[in-house]
Amino acid sequence: MAGSGIGRVWMIAAMVRVMALELWRDRGALIMTFLLPPLVFLIFSSVFAGTTGDNIQLKLAVADLVRTTDSTRLTAALVKSADIRAELVSPATDNEVRRRVKSGQADAGLVIRADPASIGKPFVIIADPSRAVAAPLTQARVQQTLSDALPDVALRRTVVQLTPALGGPSDDQAENADTAAILLRDTPKPDDVGYFDREDVKDVKTGGGVIAYYAGAVMILFALFSAMQGALGLMEERRTGVADRLLAGVAGMGPVVTGKFLFLVAQGLVQALTIFATAQLVYGVAVVQHAMLWLPTTLAASACAAGVALGLVSLCRTRDQAQMLSTFVILVLAAIGGSMVPRFLMPPWLQQVGWFTPHAWVIEAYQAILWRDAGIEAVYKAWGVLVAAGLAGLGLSQVMASRLRR
């Protein structure tokens, strides 16, 4: 039976059982394998969903150096605004604002150095260059607040700005402008001031694209991490003499490697289930509705992770080597492939390099299926790449295991 097909299947099944029992009886590893991924997914998605939506709330340090009626109205409006977390600094100096921004106590600073209605540039935005998005966002928020809460100031600034071109207003015109300004101040109509109206497109999915992105990103990240831990069992088998025992038998290490591969694929599938179930339940990502494409994508991603992990571990001679190498490779692949930072934020050349990682293929495939409702034509290439990488790793591991005989 040993050499027959059924015999080999029986051997492989025995190895899958060993892996499953070892994991089941190591409760710490079990929790790390199946509870940690959805938890990390929730954290990642919360963080990045927040930074790409409307609800970014900058922390703004404000110093009012002039304390005029209008500047006081502006600071009050900023403090009251739900779009920004403004805080008046004390002492109210530009240096104090700089200090807070530099120390990270505030994302950006605003110094009101002249009356808001005066000509010139009454405001200075103080920003940390490492937080590039903070300055334009602050400017937009302040302008929005000026338009919404101080429309009369904008009108008075406009009158003053037009004077050189049209000549000074007559007494009647000046009186009318003052009356209009007072009216605007007392009963502001924000909708009349801005250039832009806003329309949200209809029939969008409740789950955001960034959620689908991070579900895929976390899935492949943990599939690789867990597969690497499982693959390290190969090292343990060498250390404890299990490999010697098996190499003296008829089967050798072949069924062991194949059994580990199949178990790791199954483990990746269950991990993905926990992550995407969380995505569906918490964020409404339509996973079940796309199950026909989600399942092969997940199997391909898991196969890739299992094969890559086994291949990497097989190249090492000691457990320490394997742990160092696997940690390094996983982190680099995750960084380049988009599991840590969204790929669209990377420079174009790095996005191209990302295609050499499984992460980029996995992330794009899941996004195509779950966010863009794409069909098989959008993902078959990713399946091919992932399965090929997984089989290459498995093949390498089999070759290295057979060389252990010597």
């Binding site: 039976m1 040993a2 025995a14 003499g241 299990v242 025992r245 038998g249």
Partner: protein, 318 residues
Amino acid sequence: MTPEPPSKAPILTVGAAVHAYGGKPVLRGVDLTLRPGEIYALLGPNGAGKTTLIRAICGRIRPDGGEVLLNGHDPARVPSARAGLGLVPQEIALYQNLTVAENIETFAALAGTPRAAMAVAVRRALELTRTVDRAHVPVKHLSGGYQRRANIAAAIVHEPSLLILDEPTVGVDIDAREAVDAVIRGLRDLGVAVLMTTHDLDQAGTLADRVGFLREGQMVLEGEPRTLVAQAFGNQMEIMVHLAEEVDTAGEIRLAGEGLERTRRAHIWTRLDADGYAAAGRLDKRLRKVGLTPREIRVREPSLANLFTLVAERKLAA
């Protein structure tokens, strides 16, 4: 493992095996034959070639010259020949979180045991190694002795005709060693050929039917332990002198003058003498006279350990 058949054809034949690693000879014409129901202890210092010889028997390397036949087949060329082989590594080569029975099932499956025969095979392995009462205990919770026996059980579940044990009792206490020895004897009685490597020369002397001394890749001595010892030492007895304290240089010279040699154990010196007890009495008086009062003097028959020392130190012609 049915009772030993009447045929005593060799299970293992190693003939003039030669092997080198990177030009350095490791095996230099080793011969070894092992028959059913025989326990053979392979002895030798580290680097003597024991591991290489076992790797060749397991089919993991093909010797550069000579032959290795397991049940008439080359295990390196004919994988199915290895079905008749069970290896017990020096380490506890088991999955620690699995129970004894689960481990045995696993290695039975990996050795090609059919599913239908699994339960019977596992039960038999448990009984032969006397681990039935621990069948459902995870290996990591077993005592050292039980772990050793479970280690053997995983190697015999597929009923091999040759069992190779690498240091089967290293690191276990005397009771556990005796339990392991009993298991090995039981397997021998069933007709299994047992090849073991050990540094425990007492165990080799009491357990093995034959021993072989390997030195620098050559089998320099082989035979029944008692016969080899008798041939090497004749009617000489070993006199062991246990001194109360460490001696100075002058004392060392005086002890050497009495024909005593320092052993590896602290304060113990030894020599061989055909006069045995009478010589020990005279030695005691002379030592006391010069102030080297022995704490104890013992007289015993020479053992494999004495023989091993002679072979390792090249004091005995091959």
